[in-house]
């Protein structure tokens, strides 16, 4: 079955991101398809590659990137939420005249239309947040 997943909370502040990750992993293990994971609101903070958690703690961002590489996941970060929170890829940094970019591997920045499309294309949409 095709699942869409929405993550509305950032890493390390709320369990939502952890639960979403475990859900996606379990769904893939059962042979389901993850059509898209959409990161919205503070959830966009799951996509910064500048995070450096303690070594004995889980690395939430890296974990998403690795899962994406392994299963060709489509991890989409909401552009408006990302701009507000200082999250950008190379082209966004250039467009906004910033001197750095910080989007982690496996994530891409796009618009809210991607959430709507996931809602239409996926057979189930599961929301994780606070």
């Amino acid at each position: 079955m095709k699942f869409g997943v929405v993550v509305n909370e950032g890493p390390y502040t709320h369990q939502a991101s952890d639960t979403a990750y475990q859900f996606v992993k379990a769904a893939l293990a059962k042979g389901h398809e993850i059509y898209r994971v959409f990161f919205y609101h503070d959830g966009v903070n799951n996509g910064t590659r500048l995070t450096v958690p303690p070594q004995d703690d889980r690395n939430i961002v890296k974990r998403w990137s690795e899962l994406a590489a392994q299963h060709k996941l489509d991890l989409v970060v909401c552009i408006a939420a990302a701009q507000r929170r200082g999250l950008m890829d190379k082209s966004e940094a250039k467009r906004n005249g910033k001197d750095a970019d910080n989007l982690a591997l496996g994530f891409r920045i796009s618009g809210l239309g991607q959430l709507i499309e996931a809602g239409i294309q996926a057979e189930r949409l599961v929301v994780f947040g606070d």
């Binding site: 369990q15 939502a16 475990q22 859900f23 379990a26 059962k30 389901h32």
Partner: protein, 99 residues
């Protein structure tokens, strides 16, 4: 329909609201701090037991265990792992997250 509740019933009305709207025969999955509602002998356990007559109630086992609640789960509430969570989502036509 599958309803998910991730808030403790002692600090939020998410569970109460969910149970008000959940139709007969639907399923409620308690996750994260929502699993506190699965405990017996609390201020909300009566309400949860009443709800069990109309809806199926599940609790996410890893979250129950992370909170040391494994010996306090009321009869009638079924424990599932993440794979069980996935199955519940697949089995029901839609998912409502009571955030």
């Amino acid at each position: 329909m599958l309803h998910t509740v991730n808030k403790s019933p002692f600090e939020h009305t998410a569970l109460a609201t969910c149970l008000t709207y959940a139709r007969q025969g639907s399923a409620v999955l308690l996750i994260e701090d929502g699993v506190y509602a699965a405990a017996g002998d609390t201020a909300v356990s009566k309400q949860v037991q009443e709800a069990l007559k109309r809806v199926s109630i599940y609790a996410l086992k890893p979250d129950v265990e992370a909170r040391g609640m494994q010996n306090r789960v009321m009869d009638g509430i079924r424990l599932v792992d993440y794979g069980g969570f996935v199955d519940l989502v697949a089995e029901h036509n839609a998912v409502q997250s009571w955030l």
